[in-house]
Symmetry: D2
Subunit: 294 residues, 4 copies
Amino acid sequence: MLKVAFLGLGSIGRPMARRIKEAGFPLAVWNRTPDHVATFAKDLGVQLSKTPGDAIKDTDIVAICLSTSADVEQVLDAGVIGSIKAGAVVLDLTSGDPATSKRIAAKVAAKKVGFIDAPVSGGVKGAEAGTLTVMCGGDAKDLERAKPVIAAFGQKVVHCGPVGAGDAVKAMNQALLALTIWGTGEALVALSKLGVSPSVALEVINASSGRSNASMNLFPERVLTRAFPRTFRLALMDKDARIAAQIARDERVPAPLTQLVADLCTLARRELGEDADHVEAVRVIERWAGQDIR
Amino acid sequence: MLKVAFLGLGSIGRPMARRIKEAGFPLAVWNRTPDHVATFAKDLGVQLSKTPGDAIKDTDIVAICLSTSADVEQVLDAGVIGSIKAGAVVLDLTSGDPATSKRIAAKVAAKKVGFIDAPVSGGVKGAEAGTLTVMCGGDAKDLERAKPVIAAFGQKVVHCGPVGAGDAVKAMNQALLALTIWGTGEALVALSKLGVSPSVALEVINASSGRSNASMNLFPERVLTRAFPRTFRLALMDKDARIAAQIARDERVPAPLTQLVADLCTLARRELGEDADHVEAVRVIERWAGQDIR
Amino acid sequence: MLKVAFLGLGSIGRPMARRIKEAGFPLAVWNRTPDHVATFAKDLGVQLSKTPGDAIKDTDIVAICLSTSADVEQVLDAGVIGSIKAGAVVLDLTSGDPATSKRIAAKVAAKKVGFIDAPVSGGVKGAEAGTLTVMCGGDAKDLERAKPVIAAFGQKVVHCGPVGAGDAVKAMNQALLALTIWGTGEALVALSKLGVSPSVALEVINASSGRSNASMNLFPERVLTRAFPRTFRLALMDKDARIAAQIARDERVPAPLTQLVADLCTLARRELGEDADHVEAVRVIERWAGQDIR
Amino acid sequence: MLKVAFLGLGSIGRPMARRIKEAGFPLAVWNRTPDHVATFAKDLGVQLSKTPGDAIKDTDIVAICLSTSADVEQVLDAGVIGSIKAGAVVLDLTSGDPATSKRIAAKVAAKKVGFIDAPVSGGVKGAEAGTLTVMCGGDAKDLERAKPVIAAFGQKVVHCGPVGAGDAVKAMNQALLALTIWGTGEALVALSKLGVSPSVALEVINASSGRSNASMNLFPERVLTRAFPRTFRLALMDKDARIAAQIARDERVPAPLTQLVADLCTLARRELGEDADHVEAVRVIERWAGQDIR
């Protein structure tokens, strides 16, 4: 049975760790702020390590779930890399960026440790239910080694390509999410100003070629109802869209829409704050136009 | 039984006219270039009028299907308006622009004639099958009067709002189509450069939040296959996206993504020519990046 | 001596009218809100007409200075056109749009009246000093006829081309003004965040290839000093930039920077209000970045 | 007298090195492709070292002038850093990027070596005449130490801020150059389509608020004449604009115009090739619009 360490017990990290434990893997956990997770660890019956170095001792899979790749690199650089045992695999569940993931992979490779970037989609609910989609980048053999652990929380595991490929696919999906939210928002605000009911407009669009997940699900459920539930923070969509824009720039792909929507996310985040939900970005268009979608 | 004139027998006008005739309405038709449609009219057993004025005499519904609202206005201004009988309704099936439609509506209203802008979606196949979606703008009573004729070719008839509302909803749908094609293209070109298989990327995106009609249908069927069938011309998507951009500008809605995608369509049309299909727009991104989606 | 009517006595209209009167031309004036200009007319010793129709009777040059071309068209349509004498010239000093100017020119041409679009640059001070630059569009013979009147307030009179050309050149200049203000703002906000003094940065830029009127004059005098004097309203720069964007769209010139800066002006106007100065647009960038230029 | 090494004898590196030698500094030089510069070194009477390591032995100032910061880092990482003597200063004349410059500075600081990023403006002619503007980032004492060498080729030496500040100011200037070239191009193409003479338009703009170095110098001398001399490559403007865009992104400054113009430069470079001059970017707008500026 693979021994697992789990570093980073945020809102999505906790249910993933729980499912790993419940699948029977020996588990040690660590969190930057131990007080936040003491009860969680106790209830789960796992050891809450004082340092990342303690947690990873003799483990086969080092699962990490932090906010950014820079956070992951910082934790690993702080004395951890040298302690991971040869043959282990770092399974980075962070929604990270390919450039940093590649740098991290090279560092751990020097210690004969594998690396898989494995951002997920499906949210806290998907983590709890074990139905996450997991986008993986890295060597096939490292992925093979980590798969039993991934299977504890992931239903659809996709090998996207070399290290960074998982990050890249995740980021591009999020940029497309941002693009469809923002674009549908522009359309519905303009139509509302013209006196067209947004629900009628969505009915037509959703039967036509311009439809998207945003128009079919997010707008009917969250915008037309003015409910704007806070399920995924705009701040995270901003981070993801900026990674997508960075990838396009690094790869020298002129991607003016991706670049623009990344800036729109950044300014919307500034205007609406760190707690705003991603769909609330449309509030910025509404304010600029002096017209709500209704 | 309503007497109908049909002006403009292009590739989608012909099947609409055929279905109107087959539904039993007395029909007269006109086309700018009569030679193109002489056989069609003969086969259909309808009178091919020499002028629009001849066609519309004593008709209750004047159906028009041309390239642009400017074309419609020009035909009506050339001596036609005065000949339409009071109480008739102009049913404009053109994918037009709201500003011109409003101007036309005001002109015909002065002659006690109604106006419905009624652009359609569903393509030539939908017209042949009578399954078009018809987006209508105008007064409810005018729409009510035209509905039996619309029912001959349209399955889903939506009253979107006042005159211009049909045009506006159609244009916004098309702008969203352009946005999702172009955005998905940017994402897949960048991912291809990173070594990610576009079919794998689409598999993930289509199970995630960034999915759209473009990612779910157009890219798998037309781009991954490199088939690029010519079903809807880029030139028309450009026209529609420019109408959408115009609406946003006229309504003073800052809509930077809509404005940008309209310019991208215009330049792609210039680069790829008048015959290119709308999905071929991604070829421009591929050329700029030196990387095909494969 | 040419008889002159002057319609529209706003802040720049008044000094232009005064200079026309002082140059010896017989003058009648009209303003939509007569109370605002009663004292002005009395002091100047000119007749304040009750209606535009009264003002223009038997005049050779009908000078108009309103907010938009739509305002001009509305005044002319309200019974004025028929009263202008054949052979007269409408001298439209409004910062207008070419499409409307062309339509107006066609209407007055039907009455054998000439039309010159003649927006100015140089501000109220230039009008008072008679040093305005006047950008003229229209027939050379109409311009020749109006020139003595223009010479009363304009120093540099440029014949730019056919009707609308004056409007177009003015609008494009303003769009470039907006572009350099906004672009320089983006650069200086980012440099300020990096710890570079904006005055040092401007010193370098102004000795280098990226310099503009904005970087050489507006930023040192108005932004570095945080003075932001209110000399030209952002609302007017927005109007002008939107005209420029409209021209590019109508001419089918992909102009993504012009389109984008027009939207940026529109949203900045919404955020900062109708009284904000045009240079205050940089405050929006500062707010988005959480960093002032200092 | 300070001993100097000069690494990178490209078209602008050679005249800088020549002036350093002529100012009396003991000099050793190195170039990646020694054959290209053998004659130059011989004529100048300086030692052409086989390796960077040979060139820098016992020198006080290590001047480097390569294409990108990545090139500089690569040369320094290849065994050079350890050989620079403590107390020396690396004077990086490359038009580099702040992030890499900061990383390099940290690496050499660990060897008690200083670092100044010092990109220049003024071109080959300015280098030959010793009239370059030099934008410096780094510690004041390091700059003080390098100043006598800088004075050999630079007339205006500006201390912009900490390490990276020189790079940043240079990049932002170049982005503004790109923005004014592209924006003025959009305006003049649209005006040309409207029938306005571009020379008349420039005459007006250059007397008005939208003027810039591009409109005052580049367009009259290079575009109106259709001369398009090749003095500064579009490929380099692209590189610089991308650095500017990167800075804005890294600093979380929403800078949509800077981002967009960076993509426009990248695509223009792809369309026009590596040898095209920076002003030729307007050819892309002309092609998209089907209208030359004339």
